[in-house]
Amino acid sequence: MSGRSNTDGGGTEIPEAESGVTRIPSWVLNLISAGVAIALWFVIGALGIRGIPSPFEVLQAGINAAQKGLLWTDMLASFRRVTLGLILGVLVAIPTAFIMGWYRVARAIVEPWIQFLRTVPPIALIPLVIVLFGIGETPKVMIIFFAAFMTSVISIYQGVVDTDRTLINAARVLGATDRQVFLKVVVPAAMPFVFVGVRIALAASWGTLIASELVAAQEGLGYRMQIAGIYFDLPTIYFNILVIGLIGYAMDRLLQASEGRLIGWQERK
């Protein structure tokens, strides 16, 4: 993301840097980084250190899971929970954050609650959501919803509050009413923060998956890891960690790809 500006800064000052690492495109460096990690893993696996299975064993665990059909049902179940919780969380967080940022009264009423609930770990909600929503899909989605909402609402709210006063004044002297200032200045100005909020919420949603699938799950990547943990099946645990990480990474990349079109107007300083 910031690769271009980095090379600009260093490249002009020190001529040697031009021909060095800074000339390699970011995606190549990404691949090298991943490749080195996998190679290291092979070495460590070959050394036979306890607690770290070799890449072959992990791959085998994955093939087994795929053959039994567990991989797809697990992925689908977890993906659905995360996506649902994330979308609901962000959909509630956006209006909440805007109302909090725009109306002082709403802020004074809502903010203490958010600051208070923010430090409550989602896993602590398990008993509560079971009592309230039973043991179906709802409590699992609710836990992820909570995590997604709490993480994104603060970021978006901050964006609304930090809207450049000069831009608001510029709109007002051109004749904008409060409503027009909100819709035509505050909302677009906060878009980059909405974006950051969604990305943070995405990571938090996947991060809360294990907690969510502690609630009487029958399938799911987090649930599969817990079962594997009981049997000390390390390759399966590692395999599921990889899958969660890769799906999360892919979703984040997808978000970033739409970033340029939506908030490409931002000036990089």
């Binding site: 004044n169 510029a170 709109a171 007002r172 002297v173 051109l174 107007w265 000036e267």
Partner: protein, 255 residues
């Protein structure tokens, strides 16, 4: 009484910021009348309250005491009849040059086709033709400020309030924009209140100069400028210009 109503009239306005021991008087009770169709530059050191005075006329700052009247009517908040150009450009970064200039026109409910052609006309006036579809981030500082001026002018304000609009620009760009601004002003014959800390700029642009002093902010001197129009480089290097600059410089520095 004289029948001529000033375009902008400050009557005993004052403003303090902060509370208790940290209270700071930005401007002590001050009166000032700005004539219709004049180009008044307000010059002074930082902390003399020149921006505060301008923001009162804009309706963005309320005076603690006194009142501001525009065309004889008390100011109650901002209005599109008083355009403002801010020091930090204040362009909407998500809108193109064209859309920035159209912003006020759309708020005023001007039909799309008319708003578009009027915006183009002002973009042309400030010399930004060809950059209509550029986002602000692709413009230089001088181009950004020209766009901001076009945006302020597009809604056809009777008064243009400018807060050190060229302060962040290099000397050459500043001179070019000064000339462009005077051209546009002489075509439109509106009233301009122009804040600056640059003595040369203050003399070059003005029909009248208001010199302010700091701690507390107040008006130190008012000078009528009788240099010939149009202002050119010849005027800038004339002996009369040097004399005005001398007077203003001494008034600013309190000697």
């Amino acid at each position: 009484m004289n029948a001529v109503i000033p375009k902008i009239e400050f009557a005993g306005v004052s403003k303090s910021y902060g509370t208790g021991s940290k209270q700071f008087q930005a401007i002590e009770p001050t009166s000032l009348a700005i004539e219709d169709r004049s180009f008044v530059t307000v010059v002074g050191p930082s902390g003399c309250g020149k921006t505060t005075l301008m923001l009162m006329a804009a309706g963005l700052v309320e005076p603690d005491t006194g009142s501001v009247k525009v065309s004889g009517k008390p100011v109650k908040g901002p209005s599109p009849d008083r355009g403002v150009v801010f020091q930090q450009f204040a362009l909407f970064p998500w809108l193109t040059v064209q859309k920035n200039v159209e912003f006020g026109l759309k708020l005023a409910g001007v039909p799309a086709a008319e708003s578009e052609s009027r915006a183009r006309q002002y973009i042309d006036l400030v010399g930004l033709t060809g950059f209509e579809n550029n986002l602000p981030k692709t413009l230089s500082g001088g181009m950004k400020q020209r766009c901001a001026i076009a945006r302020a002018w597009a809604v056809d304000p009777e008064i243009l309030l400018m807060d050190e609009p060229f302060g962040a620009l290099d000397a050459l760009t500043r001179v070019a924009l000064n000339n462009q601004l005077l051209d546009a002003w002489s075509q439109r014959k509106s009233t301009v209140m122009f804040i600056t800390h640059d003595v040369d700029e203050a003399v070059y642009l003005a029909t009248d100069i208001v010199v302010m002093a700091a701690r507390p902010g107040r008006i130190a001197k008012r000078i009528r400028v009788d240099l010939p129009w149009p202002r050119t480089e010849e005027v800038r290097f004339s002996a009369e210009f040097a004399e005005y600059r001398n007077t203003v410089w001494h008034a600013v520095h309190g000697v």
